[in-house]
């Protein structure tokens, strides 16, 4: 088991890339609002009248990557950090469960 310090050093370049992506996420959130971001899936749903059937059984604790009541752009960064840490942790648990040391 590598120590945290070793891990941070070994994965430095990947961690920098992930950090940069999280830091620029508010800009992308803003820019996608400006251009009216929509995915082909939504366009197909719109075209065939399916949009009104969309709902969410589970909204999550940070719905749509935005903390309710908080600044949407700042909370995008928080969502990125929280999401990356949970995903990283979950994969480590799965990896260990499958026999990785």
């Amino acid at each position: 088991m590598e120590s945290l310090k070793e891990g941070l050093r070994k994965w430095r370049s990947v961690l920098i890339v992930i950090s940069v992506m999280i830091l620029v996420s508010p800009f992308f959130a803003w820019a996608s609002e400006v251009v009216g971001y929509a995915e082909p899936l939504e366009n197909a749903a719109e075209h065939l009248g399916a949009m009104e059937h969309e709902y969410a059984i589970i909204s999550g604790i940070i719905p749509d990557y935005t903390i309710p009541g908080a600044n949407p752009y700042a909370s995008t960064i928080v969502a990125g950090i929280v999401g990356c840490l949970i995903v990283l942790g979950l994969c480590m648990v799965i990896g260990k469960a499958l026999g990785g040391k």
């Binding site: 992308f28 899936l41 366009n43 197909a44 990356c84 995903v87 994969c91 799965i94």
Partner: protein
């Protein structure tokens, strides 16, 4: 490309859950006892990187765009089985913590992004990497997401909410993600080469291909 709740008929939700569960269990069995030390943090790092990249919606003017999905990257860097499980982790957290993709549609979302994209990307890469590494990485990213999106078009097209508009859903998903997938292919190529430059010992790529 994350299908929300309400878009698919329940029977197709169930079918996609079963298919995805079979592949997840198969992948876990293939990996059982075979993961070596450095592979575990690599799986986590790749998954975290893909999660962050998926948050960045491409601001393309005109009202039709997409975001990076990354299944092919996961399949190539981790192998198809660990790649599949890493993408399943990303999609499950997106669904449960961020409400991105419906819980009833999770089976279908896993099928398109954690199975089709991952395995197709991996197969294209392994088939073509000896000829040209860059081209194999680009095509893996492009065709992986293209077929994944087409699969999403198929499951929506057989659903009553989409008025069984199979031709429309498959062509909208296929044509648009076929075009937008070129960006996915380019990012996949650049990202994998970035990792290969720094961690060549961790990647299951023959040394002569890396050099």
């Amino acid at each position: 490309m994350h299908i929300p709740d309400g878009f698919m008929d329940l029977w197709i939700c169930a079918v996609m859950y079963i298919i995805s569960a079979v592949v997840i269990v198969y992948s876990a069995r293939k990996l059982k006892g075979k993961l070596e030390g450095p592979q575990v943090p690599l799986i986590g790092m790749v998954a975290a990187g893909i999660f962050a990249a998926q948050m960045l919606n491409w601001p393309i003017p005109g009202g039709t765009s997409a975001h990076f999905v990354g299944g092919a990257i996961a399949g190539i860097l981790l192998g198809p089985y660990a790649g599949c499980l890493s993408m399943v982790s990303v999609l499950t957290i997106q669904c449960l913590v961020f409400g991105d993709g419906g819980i009833t549609a999770l089976g279908a979302n896993i099928f398109s992004m954690a199975i089709v994209d991952v395995f197709v990307g991996y197969w294209i890469f392994t088939a073509l990497r000896q000829r040209n590494l860059d081209v194999s990485l680009f095509l893996a990213g492009w065709i992986g997401i293209w077929l994944g999106a087409t699969a999403t078009g198929v499951v929506l097209g057989v659903s009553s909410v989409f008025a069984y508009g199979f031709v429309t859903t498959v062509s909208v998903m296929g044509i648009w993600h076929g075009a937008l997938g070129i960006i996915e292919g380019i990012i996949s190529m650049l990202a994998i080469k970035f990792v290969l430059d720094r961690q060549p010992d961790l990647i299951p790529v023959p040394k002569e291909v890396v050099a």
